[in-house]
Symmetry: C2
Subunit: 121 residues, 2 copies
DNA sequence: TTATCCGTACTATTACATATAGTACAATCA
DNA sequence: TGATTGTACTATATGTAATAGTACGGATAA
């Protein structure tokens, strides 16, 4: 279900958080769908259950999943309540990326064109 | 000259790399301009010279500055030669950010409009 | 030449985050 | 009940970050 790069400098739990977020955002994982149990996923990926739990805890804290003891962990249907802070962070990252693309010599028109291919409609 | 967040989870040398890159990209630091000596900057920021050197080494490796023993460290005038790898990384980050903005409910037209305000012309 | 400043390269040490291993407990459900 | 779930906790090993200190060669001005 997930692929990890154990040689990466990025922590395993952080890679897991990003991977799962991508699957939620791209709607591969659907609302209220159950995630693998921490012990199961740990077995599949041959890593420690504590590492999985740390990733799930982080995802729950960020509002992407919810966990119920005795039942399991599930995709949170609704978007996290307060988006403003997260959206501001994204805009800052976006600004930084665009600045660097310009610095590296990519023409503004090409940037716009490239972005439109990444958006619907 | 620089501001650091010692309480941040991000390593000091990494914060330094990002700060200086921003100053280069935004052209606050101009080509061939001399950066503070490792010992001087370490003194100003009250951190260890080794940490500054690690940041400078990374910036040189990424092609943003060049260092000459006995003279100093300077802003590299030209853009790093091979941009393709860096550009690919930026496009991947961009794609991820756009996906998340969409997921959080920002309309595509608003995204385009917002981006155009961040680009020249 | 000498003194000084520059980047650079080491070693050693401390502190912290990551990841693992193991145990335990309460809630859920067949 | 028994099995599975999330959760919490301790302990340990490992790697990275950061510090402290020392040292060397190149560049430059006195």
């Amino acid at each position: 279900m997930f692929e990890l790069d154990l040689r990466s400098r990025a922590p395993i739990y952080e890679q897991l958080v990003e991977k799962i977020k991508e699957l939620i955002i791209s709607k591969v994982l659907k609302p209220d769908e159950q995630l693998p149990a921490v012990r199961v996923l740990a077995g599949e990926l041959t890593i420690n259950p504590n590492t999985i739990q740390k990733a799930y805890r982080e995802l729950e804290h960020q509002g992407y999943i919810y966990s119920i003891p005795g039942k399991g962990s599930f995709i949170r249907p609704a978007v996290p309540e307060d988006n403003t802070a997260r959206m501001q962070t994204l805009e800052n990252e976006l600004s930084r990326i665009l600045s660097e693309m310009l610095y590296l010599g990519m023409p503004p028109r090409n940037i716009i064109t490239r972005i439109k291919t990444l958006l619907p409609e």
